[in-house]
Symmetry: C2
Subunit: 467 residues, 2 copies
């Protein structure tokens, strides 16, 4: 390594040691013939004392230049210890300083207090991410996902990767399509969620599945929704009662928060189970904010909403792909009706209650799922009720067929990882949790994607542009 | 839960307990008035004794039906213990059996010994995955990735997610393109690797990064290459010497193998570092098989190959996107030349050695990486040498700009996760490690993707089919 220590680890225990540090010049302050560098990396900041000879040789080093410093650790006198710095007990007296890369003036200010324009921040994300609070967001995201993975692994859940190049099916949102080079006139679709694959994994007997799964929806960006792509904790299990799913997810979320955000307090544990009808009556929305004190940034008011109707009245967006005009699925078309309401499917579908469950935090829906249908006859009936035409039903023939070869009762949930963390961490935008987010117009400002491609590429894909 | 125990956990300790099991009927063997069910789930098989009354009521239950059994655990007499079954000490005497879903006759045989046609196996993957050896493959994959994640997390590597909808750039293979609905005539590309993002993360000061990253290449399938999409352990660090990268990866791989495949033996530790020129002389390929005994399925012959030339003679495939005709990058266009050879870039580029490193196992290349260029002037010179035109260089302007704001020396590697596991586990095809692989024609036989899409969808994307 081009360093012996990071900029966040030296203390008076190291006094007298010869060390090598490498990092970014936060400031270089010249005081007469001597100077001081605050040297920064992801782990902290260390003060470097630069003697007259080196100060003269180097001149002023520009901010954000990368330098390597060799020197000796010196303990500060008791009254000069900097309590607000992790390395405040020491400074490093430089014997040798090498400027590895000199930095041009930056297009944005990196101070925590500076509120840069979001467009500039996103274009120069590789600079924006140098802010300690942005690093903290990425570290929290990593730790949260790691905590979830470890607990679910302990509980025998299997992390299974499902395909990203898959098939367009008439579901909620618009699909992203990928033209096939090998199969003229055909397209893959990026998955809106691995819904069908996870249900097929249950038919396969995988029994307990999870994945931090990339999902894709071609829809508008909002503060709590990442445009284009997002990640969800995708979760499915066989032979559960609905309460089993709720309990495991609740335990997983509580453990993650205790691990990564120990300062947070829960409004109520176990999370209350609220009935949809009661919630709508009391709050007039299906994602209630149950916090006792909405001004306490550390209060987390989780609740479960259950007993949803199986169908909602269809809206214009729902039938983008040309499904029916009367009923749309409240959750998705694979959600199981309650056994006692199955007969109502024929007589009064609007009255059928389902095994849907939504996880709500501080008024945001952070997860949703259900016990699924595993009986092909009921699945077929639900397809009819939401108005799938025969041709569209054929697109799901593999699911109906799979259910005829021994399908276990199963159910699950999906949690929006970044949305959940956004609410827990009181961030204004989901983009604060994402290393390289797209902007509100679904553009990646770092790479400038989407972009034009060559005629040759389009020709190979058997498509052309509409003028 | 609809069960109290799995089919793989009861022992004589449970004798006398009332239990509920749920699973798949491996066999239902009727012997006169009584019968026996072998009930299977992911965890094992338990024998169920079915008394005359229940046998008569049920008739013969079809194989692979899902049933729920309530009954009492009975210890088997010492001389009837089935040593080859995890639950061989007991059987469950059923009081109640409920057929949850009756299975139609299967389109493929599930016995381990049966070699089904691969097309049938892939089409009915949800049945194929019921074979215990397929479950074992998925479990091994999960454990291997979990082991890697845990070790790298301990070492302060940060798991950062990078975009999947990104930009087409002239690199090695063909890109998959995604037409933009919001930006007429423009396309996202799926990443061939997160190469640029990971280097930008180093510029951002993230210091140590990894990701089990989805990668996409529109190229032909081979036994050791998954068509379409695959996952790599993507890894990058700042301020390393080349040996630091080799050492951390070597430790990670050895730990993973000791954790998950304890029966495996290494030909040599530390993995030998072999020079490209010597390897080519001795083996005539750049991925040598250094095993002492190639017939020992548990021997793993890892080696590193280093000191590659920076450039290779360009081949036809390399200049698909229209780059130059003389030199192509041996690894990729971001690989750093050795310092002592930089002057040769101007005089004799073919002689320049680089900081590329390949990890080779039993004759397969399982990983490749390099110390990267962090000096924009050298990067620009390499772009020129491989023949990028001004317009193409513009596509990388953000990289060159990023390097002017304080870029640390950095380097990394990418390991093909499934290829590595394929070689470790002596599988014939990488598809054995993937839950839902595409076939050799890049078709997903379960979903039947790619497929035709509606005119309306194409219109929204501003494209039409070429007749």
């Amino acid at each position: 390594m081009l360093r012996t220590h990071t900029c966040g680890e030296l203390s008076k225990e190291n006094a007298g040691n010869e060390v090598t540090l490498a990092g970014w010049v936060e400031t270089h302050r010249i005081q007469g013939r001597i100077s001081f560098i605050l040297l920064r990396d992801r782990y902290g900041i260390t003060q470097i004392f630069v003697n007259p000879k080196l100060t003269k040789e180097l001149g002023e080093i520009r901010r954000e230049s990368v330098v390597q410093v060799k020197g000796e650790v010196k303990e500060r006198p008791e009254n000069q210890v900097k309590k607000d710095m992790v390395t405040g007990e020491i400074e490093v007296s430089a014997n040798e300083i090498k400027v590895i890369t000199d930095a041009a003036p930056l297009p944005l200010e990196l101070g925590e207090e500076v509120e840069s324009n979001e467009e500039t921040r996103l274009k120069y994300r590789y600079l924006d991410l140098r802010r300690p609070n942005m690093v903290n967001n990425l570290v929290a995201r990593h730790k949260a996902i790691q905590s979830i993975r470890n607990l679910l692994t302990e509980k025998n859940f299997l992390d299974v990767t499902t395909p990203i190049l898959t098939k367009s099916t008439p579901e909620g949102a618009r699909d992203y399509l990928v033209p096939s080079r090998l199969h003229k006139g055909k397209f893959y679709a990026l998955p809106q969620a691995p819904q069908q694959y996870k249900q097929l994994l249950m038919v396969a007997g995988i029994d307990r599945y999870f994945q931090i799964a990339p999902c894709f929806r071609d829809e508008a960006a909002r503060a709590h929704r990442a445009p284009g792509e997002f990640y969800q904790l995708d979760f499915e299990m066989s032979f559960p009662n609905q309460e089993d799913i709720l309990n495991i997810i609740e335990e997983t979320v509580i453990k993650m928060i205790n691990d990564v955000f120990p300062e947070k307090k829960f409004t109520q544990i176990p999370f209350p189970r609220l009935k949809y009808d009661d919630v709508m009556k009391k709050y007039n929305v299906d994602c209630p904010d149950i916090r006792k004190n909405k001004n306490n940034p550390n209060e987390l008011g989780f609740c479960w909403v259950v007993d949803f109707p199986l169908f909602m009245k269809q809206t214009k967006e729902d039938f983008f792909h040309g499904v029916g005009e009367e009923w749309g699925p409240s959750h998705n078309m694979f959600t199981s009706p309650k056994e006692e309401d199955i007969s109502l499917l024929d007589t009064d579908p609007g009255k059928v209650k389902s095994y849907q469950h939504d996880l709500v935090l501080n008024g945001f829906e952070v997860g949703g799922g259900a016990i699924r249908i595993h009986d092909p006859k009921i699945q077929d009936k639900v397809f009819d009720l939401i108005g799938l035409k025969e041709k569209q039903k054929k697109e799901f023939a593999h699911m109906l067929e799979a259910f005829t070869y021994g399908a276990p009762p199963h159910g699950g949930i999906a949690l929006g990882i970044d949305r959940l963390l956004m609410v827990i961490m009181n961030k204004k935008s989901i983009r604060e949790l994402i290393a390289f987010p797209k902007n509100k117009d679904a553009i990646d400002p770092v790479m400038n994607a989407p972009s034009e491609v060559s005629e040759e590429q389009l020709k190979e894909l058997h498509i052309k542009l509409v003028k």
